[in-house]
């Protein structure tokens, strides 16, 4: 470093300039304060003024929580996603609901009778909307017709199909007025079934079955569910404020019938972000009462000595084969070779290491009920322990059957997220090492992966399924030959027959036997390679009790939560 010659006077000049800069700096600070004051004014115009209350607000008997994204659709007839489901689960109620013990309990209906041909629901006299008007049987009929109206294009219309003529209406073959659901009077709802159904009571707790009042719906002119005042509520809470992308405020609904069971006066959704580290920081700072943990921040949570809870969310993940004509993966020996060459335990415990995950054994996850106990206890899932010798024998048999010199690379379609990236690399490695099979990974954004799954442009695909209702059929009918979600186009008349039995039978024994049979077929035919059942690890504020995690319905559910004094 050479110093520039410093003629006399230069340093005095620099000193003066430095003083100038100092003044400039002061001016900046003053200017910024002024600017921020102005911005604050602006922000208070565009958003709720004031900060977000702390996690536990004893004075107002309120808690603050966060959501991972802005609820995309609060129109219950068209809602499909989990986040909207959380909000709807707090502000709406179906004929039946899941209570604080996770049991099916009376909701808008105080009594009901279900038999093979149909059902009758008697609505309670004190069932009211948030504007004080009674909830009537017409509101249910209107909502269900709306859900099925092809013009409404609801993606969950299929869940209404057990009702007579529902499918035909949804296909546009019959007018909505032909639906087999009628309001005998304001408080009596009569439902006719398309065919006998054993779990209709469970379906009525689902959001597509929630009531919608016709006059209010018409008054919103297509904006139903778009804002807090574009919705009518009949649940324990009502949305009193919704700043898109930022916050929602759920206040106790004074017209809700079961006031005694609701202990919180307010639930603030104070933050909306998908960043798990932000959530953890907010929890640490006592700004939110609950947060999920990821593999990366689990150690951080352990260091804090928090009590960590676990919840299996009912989602199963697996490798789906393409069973279409002309695909190599149509060959049973190849599929057997592949399932024998990998180990879900290794994948879960050594590779992904995500807290809460369990190795996959079956399409039917562990939470499902059997006849008396859990389905999986009554019918343990048969598995394929890793056996390289057998795997190679099957591979050789497949090579001969297919008349190949050597196997061309198989295409593994996958989404683009951290967990599936690790998973695809695991499978690429084990199939190469154990079988000498080359796997070409086709990583795609969500929409493109779905498009390729639908068109059948894959050999294997990383897939998953979550329950729509609490019955094994929500998984079982996935591989029925007619199911559009059967993206690998697996087709087996015997499997279809078992699905028909489970769909039509009313008695638990017969149905559970059919599910056990489906589980056996999937195992023997190696329809899929189970990977894992998803679980979530989470922490809750020590003073807030009664936070519920659910497999179906609102997950997480703060409806029955309370603040410990």
């Amino acid at each position: 470093m050479t110093k520039a010659p410093n003629p006399s006077g230069e340093s005095a000049f620099n000193r003066s300039a430095a003083r100038q800069l100092a003044l400039f700096g002061v001016a900046i600070v003053v200017g910024l304060v002024g600017l921020m004051w102005g911005l604050n004014l602006l922000a208070s115009l565009t958003a709720t003024a004031g900060g977000v209350p702390p996690a536990v607000d004893v004075a107002n008997n309120a808690i603050t929580v966060m959501l991972t994204e802005e609820p995309p659709q609060l129109d219950s007839t068209r809602s499909t996603d989990q986040v909207s489901g959380i909000v709807l689960g707090h502000v709406m109620e179906g004929l039946l609901r899941y209570d604080d013990r996770g049991e099916l309990a009376p909701g808008m209906a105080e009594a009901w009778r279900i038999d093979e041909g149909g059902a009758t629901f008697h609505l309670r006299a004190d069932a009211r909307w948030s504007d004080g008007q009674p909830v009537t049987a017409h509101d249910f009929v209107f909502a269900w017709r709306l859900g099925l109206d092809p013009e409404n294009a609801s993606e969950y219309a299929f869940i209404l199909y057990p009702i007579k003529n529902a499918e035909a209406i949804n296909q546009g073959e019959l007018p909505v007025t032909e639906l087999g659901a009628r309001a005998l009077d304001a408080r009596t709802l009569e439902v006719e079934f398309e065919r006998p159904i054993a779990f209709f009571d469970k379906l009525t707790a689902f959001s597509t079955y929630f009531p919608v009042r016709e006059d209010f719906y018409r008054a919103t002119e297509g904006r139903f569910g778009a804002d807090a005042d574009q919705l009518l509520y009949n649940g324990p809470f009502a949305l009193s404020n919704w700043v898109h992308g930022q916050s929602l405020r759920l206040d106790r609904n004074p017209h809700y019938w079961d006031q005694a069971r609701i202990r919180l006066d307010r639930i603030n959704v104070g933050y909306i972000t998908s960043d798990p580290n932000t959530r953890l920081n907010l929890f640490k700072d006592e700004k939110i009462v609950m947060t999920g943990l990821t593999a990366e921040n689990l150690t951080n949570a352990l260091e804090q000595r928090w009590h960590i809870h676990r919840h299996m969310d009912g989602s199963v993940f697996y490798l789906d084969f393409n069973h279409r004509e002309g695909r190599l993966t149509r060959n049973l020996n190849l599929r057997k070779a592949m399932i024998l060459a990998q180990d879900p335990g290794e994948l879960v415990y050594k590779v992904t290491k995500t807290p809460g995950y369990l190795p996959g054994e079956s399409l039917f996850p562990r939470f499902l009920e059997g006849v008396q106990g859990k389905f999986r206890d009554e019918h343990p899932a048969p598995t394929y322990p890793m056996d390289l010798q057998a795997a190679r024998a099957h591979l050789e048999a497949a090579r001969r059957e297919l008349g190949l010199e050597a196997f061309p690379p198989l295409v593994l379609l996958a989404g683009d997220n951290p967990v599936s990236n690790i998973q695809t690399e695991y499978f690429q490695a084990v199939f190469k090492k154990n079988l000498g099979l080359d796997i070409k990974i086709d990583r795609q954004i969500f929409k493109q992966r779905l498009a390729k799954m639908t068109s059948g442009d894959f050999d294997l695909v990383l897939a998953g399924w979550g329950p729509d209702y609490n019955d094994p059929l929500t998984y079982g009918d996935l591989y029925a030959s007619w199911n559009l979600n059967n993206r690998g186009r697996y087709s087996n008349p015997e499997y279809d027959r078992q699905v028909r039995i489970a769909q039509g039978a009313m008695d638990a024994q017969t149905r559970v036997a059919a599910f056990a049979e489906m589980q056996r077929i999937i195992h023997e035919d190696v329809v899929i390679i189970p990977n894992y059942e998803r679980g979530v690890a989470y922490v809750t504020h020590p003073r807030v009790k009664g936070i519920l995690r659910r497999v179906v319905g609102a997950d997480t559910d703060y409806t029955y939560a309370w603040i410990e004094p």
């Binding site: 470093m1 520039a4 620099n14 300039a17 911005l39 922000a43 092809p150 930022q246 779905l450």
Partner: protein, 310 residues
């Protein structure tokens, strides 16, 4: 001046039109199905959705409809939030991004000029070395690292002090804006510091400064009227694009600090192939960028009389 402004405005409109057209066709050639979702759609429902969004029309017809709606300032309905209009999304979330952006630019611009001038005055001495070291850090470390670090620091600080000095995340008050906007402006501030330093150094040794000195002007007048005013020109030039870049590039910072800005929609729309939101945000941001560049060019003429002559 007026004719020049009008000419620039017209050029800007043509630019925006090309941005819209290029985005429209690029978007439609991205593989993937915007209507696809976890649950497979029946053909009937699919057809209804396609009709709702006009996807059943040939591409050129769709383009024509899009242009027609664009002229009326209507971007249509979002694919992912089916009952929200794209116009509403922009109207509700752009002010948030803009607020954050203005503050970040204020930090960056004022800080950049201050630090830049300081380093030039203290050339090759300790303040210069320290600031330039910080500048290299500021330029090379991406904003998400600063965002995560900043937030972690806040949590620790609040934890140690036992009360909330500044909120960790969220939006609504000035306290919520401070750290995110500082983080967002850091990179630009570092860049501007370097720019300011070199242009200041150039000017310190220039003829007109020497002339001013020999005229016997006060040091203060030389600094404000001769040095700063000339040195700041390159800074103003990059300020326009920088404002646009900061306002649109706040995605990560918005995510980390749970800020309901438009940046989030801008990025998520692309991931989810939300056609209408992609078009709406791109055209809006494109127009915004073009507008900022024009404003800066006009501002330039005001600061530097030499430009006005053309």
């Amino acid at each position: 001046m007026l004719r020049y402004s009008l000419k620039r405005l017209l050029q800007g409109l043509v630019t925006v039109f090309f941005i819209a057209t290029a985005t429209f066709f690029a978007m439609h050639s991205v593989p993937g199905d915007p209507l696809a979702s976890d649950k497979a759609l029946t053909e009937r429902i699919r057809a209804n959705l396609e009709a709702k969004y006009g996807l059943d029309q040939p591409l050129m017809t769709q383009y024509g409809i899009f242009l027609g709606n664009l002229l009326q300032g209507d971007f249509g309905i979002s694919y992912t939030q089916e009952n929200r209009r794209v116009n509403d999304i922009i109207r509700e979330h752009f002010p948030v991004s803009a607020t954050l952006g203005i503050l970040a630019i204020a930090f960056a611009g004022l800080g950049g000029v201050l630090w830049g001038a300081l380093t030039a005055l203290y050339r090759n001495r300790l303040p210069d070395v320290l600031i330039m070291l910080a500048v290299i850090l500021g330029i090379s470390v991406p904003s998400f690292v600063f965002a995560a670090l900043g937030q972690l620091l806040l949590v620790q600080l609040n934890g140690v002090l036992g009360f909330s000095v500044l909120p960790v995340a969220g939006w609504g008050t000035v306290a919520h804006m401070l750290v995110p906007s500082l983080v967002l402006g850091l990179g630009t501030m570092a860049y501007l510091t370097r720019l300011m330093r070199s242009s200041m150094l150039e000017i310190v040794g220039s003829d007109f400064v020497r002339t001013a000195k020999s005229k016997g002007l006060s040091a203060r007048r030389i600094f404000t009227h001769h040095q700063l005013r000339n040195a700041i020109l390159p800074v103003v030039t990059v300020l326009g694009p920088a404002i646009a870049a900061i306002t649109t590039g706040g995605f990560v910072v918005e995510m980390v600090f749970a800020i309901p800005g438009l940046g989030r929609y801008f990025v998520q729309a692309v991931q989810q192939l939300d056609y209408t939101v992609i078009m709406g945000t791109t055209v809006f941001y494109g127009a915004f960028l073009v507008f900022m560049v024009i404003v800066v060019d006009l501002l330039y003429g005001w600061i530097d009389p030499r430009v006005r002559l053309e």
